[in-house]
């Protein structure tokens, strides 16, 4: 199961390669930039769902705190935030070092006529490699928050929610209520 989740995650990240490449022109540029952000957003959504499955695999832990502290919430958080921090790097690495061909004028799902519209490629590079990772990270986080809430609220699945909210505090630290 873990392998399946891992493979699905990797396929999703490099899934952009499966899109048919389209030409970006000055007329389509603004739409293309939005499409780049949408790609990052969609990726964030997909990965947050996958992460929801991964963190839900970690079992609840009941243990006397005199023996050791509970570790399950910590484990979920470590996995979630590690992936969150790695995602932009993976995305950036893939798009900048593998997908980008400055001579051919291709990046992601776009190619550009660099002879006629040289300025478009830097715009796309900026969108893919600077804003893209940021959007990906942000949407991954936000969708995870949203989905974990939905799962807790409507499907009574609370494990993923503990990543965001435990001990009646956000991330276990932001909030007023304390243990007795």
């Amino acid at each position: 199961m873990k392998r399946k989740i891992l493979l699905t995650g990797l396929f999703s990240i490099v899934g952009i390669a499966a899109f048919a490449q389209t030409q970006s022109t000055p007329n389509t540029l603004s739409g293309d930039l939005i499409m780049v952000y949408l790609q990052a957003t969609f990726m964030g959504l997909l990965l947050s769902l996958i992460m929801l499955g991964i963190v839900s695999r970690i079992k609840y832990d009941l243990i006397d705190n005199r023996i050791r502290s509970q570790k399950d919430v910590r484990k979920r958080r470590i996995i979630f935030f590690t992936v969150m921090l790695l995602l932009p790097a993976v995305w950036f690495y893939y798009l900048f070092f593998i997908s980008l061909d400055q001579l051919a004028g291709t990046i992601g799902t776009y190619f550009v006529d660099t002879m006629q519209h040289a300025y478009i490629l830097p715009e796309l590079i900026h969108a893919y490699c600077v804003m893209g990772p940021f959007v990906l990270m942000l949407t991954y986080f936000l969708f995870f928050v949203l989905f974990s809430w939905i799962f807790a609220r409507f499907f009574n699945k609370y494990k993923a929610r503990t990543v965001i909210y435990s001990n009646f505090k956000y991330l276990g630290i932001i909030g007023k209520k304390n243990k007795k």
């Binding site: 832990d61 009941l62 919430v73 243990k179 007795k180």
Partner: protein, 571 residues
């Protein structure tokens, strides 16, 4: 929180627990209440003993005290409905005739034989009692001398009520007066069911049961000044014949104490008592129902062996009473408590009125062989009866199973993960955004109760020993019942091989096959969501709803036999 007597609600159920066996039966009854089997009911309990130091009595009082800190009155008071844990209100009263004084420690002193004409008095006394019986120390009870005990108990009752009636100060301090007064009130309101728990073969219980209806009715009449007819008092009792044994006292011990309980005579005591109960006209007219409980040909547990094997305590000399009289729980005591439930909840007052002579209630259980011995097969429907159930509703025995499994699981989980500390479980649940506010008193009571029920650890001469809980003690009393013969449970559950830590995960399909703690929290959260500062009642309710939602594993005792037969055929 109701940790005091609730005298605002009229109770119609009264329980009298007499002697060491009565005390242990009472512990079973308390457990029945803790398991939610008297949901929404109020029960007034009188602990009656002649031995203030009796360890069983102290344990019972202690258990009731803990219980009262957790009890509440929520729940539907219905015979066929099991409710939340600790949902019965118990009002405790205690009466111990004082035989510790220099003027009361012997029959001869109480009867003032030396006053008036001592020679005539002595001859009269000798007509009824042998000389050693007249002279033994009563501070450890009646020592199986029921002919003396019944006489003394009746008079102790009447004397106490007379003294209380004469003085307001005495009245306010007399538990017996308050108990009888509650019975009088219930009689005036139409119905009081009084059930006696005790043995037929020992001392205090066997002495008290025969005289209880007369003593209570006469005492109630004294309080009412004889102005009210006591027509609505209905008496029942469980008659426990001998079911345990202990080593006979040594000759030196016999010589020192003169009169001493000897287990080898218990079968004869029981037989003689039963003959009396079924023939005596006064008994047959006053008691409405008897629940006759015997141990037949089943192996009787030797309490000295138990203490040596299980708790590591060496026996020493036979305990006639006092601090050393503490025996393990037995299934027959639990059945007595279930008999009380049956008496309280079955048949209307009008039906009881029509019973002219005592109804004898009994029930046979099937048995299987274990080596040369026979082992009874006990199911939940042997303990409670469920005459009317609809398809929609679980029968009372199934509800009983659900609650029993749930409570045992909860208590065992606490022991397994938190060394019995509820506080730490609550702390872990807080991490998962479920918060409960329990007072220190409630936590302490719950910790105690769960340890008592599942398993506890004691330090004996610097060494830590595991003591089986009340529930495992009952299993042990059945000669460690194999293959689901005890309530359909896998013997592994009782934790004999795990230092008496019950393997609760083997009670449910879900927890047996997967990580039990993960399954528990998942189900807990699914059913109860995020509790925010809920009280102990809600905490127990949530715990119960979680465990009862799992699928119970019921082991079929005959399955093992079938398997053996099949193997034999193949060979």
């Amino acid at each position: 929180m109701g940790n005091k007597k609730d005298t605002t609600r009229t109770s119609k159920y009264f329980l009298v627990c007499a002697g060491g066996t009565g005390m242990r039966c009472m512990q079973s009854f308390i457990n029945l209440c803790a398991l939610g089997m008297f949901s929404g009911q109020t029960i007034d309990v009188l602990l009656l003993d002649t031995d203030a130091e009796n360890k069983d009595k102290k344990n019972t009082e202690n258990l009731i005290q803990k219980y009262t800190k957790l009890m509440h009155s929520d729940g539907e008071a219905k015979a066929n409905k099991a409710g939340d844990f600790f949902s019965a209100q118990i009002n405790l009263y205690t009466f111990i005739p004082d035989y510790s004084k220099e003027t009361t420690k012997r029959f001869t002193l109480i009867s003032e034989i030396e006053k008036g004409d001592p020679a005539v008095n002595k001859r009269l006394g000798d007509l009824f009692y042998e000389e050693p019986v007249q002279d033994f120390d009563l501070s450890h009870g009646y020592r199986a001398q029921t002919h003396l005990g019944s006489y003394l108990m009746y008079h102790a009752f009447i004397e106490e009520i007379r003294q209380a009636n004469a003085s307001d100060e005495y009245k306010s301090s007399s538990d017996l007066f308050k108990f009888v007064d509650r019975i009088r009130e219930a009689n005036n309101e139409g119905e009081a069911r009084i059930f006696s728990l005790g043995s037929t073969f020992g001392g205090t219980g066997a002495s008290s049961i025969p005289v209880m209806p007369i003593a209570i009715t006469d005492a109630a009449k004294i309080i009412s000044g004889g102005m009210v007819e006591m027509d609505n008092l209905f008496y029942g009792a469980s008659l426990l014949s001998n079911y345990f044994t202990f080593p006979s006292p040594s000759d030196a011990h016999k010589a020192k104490d003169g009169i001493i309980a000897d287990a080898q005579f218990f079968p004869y005591n029981s037989a003689a008592a039963l003959m009396y109960y079924i023939k005596d006209k006064t008994i047959l007219q006053t008691y409405k129902r008897f629940y006759i409980l015997g141990w037949g040909e089943f192996n009787k547990i030797n309490v000295a062996d138990y203490k040596t094997k299980i708790s590591g305590k060496t026996g020493g000399k036979t305990a006639t009473g006092g601090k050393k009289q503490e025996n393990p729980a037995h299934i027959l005591e639990f059945m007595s408590a279930c008999a009380a439930k049956h008496f309280f909840e079955h048949g209307k007052a009008e039906e009881l009125q029509t019973i002219a002579t005592t109804e004898m209630m009994f029930k046979a259980v099937e048995s299987i062989s274990k080596g040369d011995e026979k082992i009874p097969v006990i199911n939940f429907d042997d303990l409670v009866s469920s005459p009317n159930t609809t398809d929609k509703e679980l029968s009372i025995d199934d509800q009983f199973r659900d609650n029993m499994y749930a409570f045992l699981s909860f208590c065992s989980l606490l022991q397994e993960r938190y060394e019995g500390r509820t506080e730490n479980l609550i702390s872990d649940l807080f991490t998962y955004n479920s918060s409960y506010n329990l007072s220190e008193e409630e936590i302490e009571a719950l910790d105690f109760f769960c340890s008592y029920f599942a398993m506890r650890k004691e330090t004996d001469e610097g060494e830590e020993i595991a003591i089986p809980g009340w529930f495992a003690q009952m299993w042990h009393s059945l000669n460690e019942a194999p293959d689901g013969t005890f309530l359909g449970m896998d013997p592994v559950v009782f934790g004999k091989d795990t230092d008496w830590l019950p393997n609760w995960n083997r009670l449910y399909t879900e927890t047996a096959n997967d990580n039990p703690f993960d399954e528990f929290v998942k189900r807990f959260k699914k059913l109860n969501h995020n509790a925010k500062g809920s009280d102990y009642k809600q905490f127990l309710k949530d715990i119960r709803s979680t465990f009862t939602s799992f699928t119970p594993i019921v082991v079929d005792p005959s399955a093992a036999n079938r398997k053996t037969e099949q193997t034999t055929e193949l060979v």
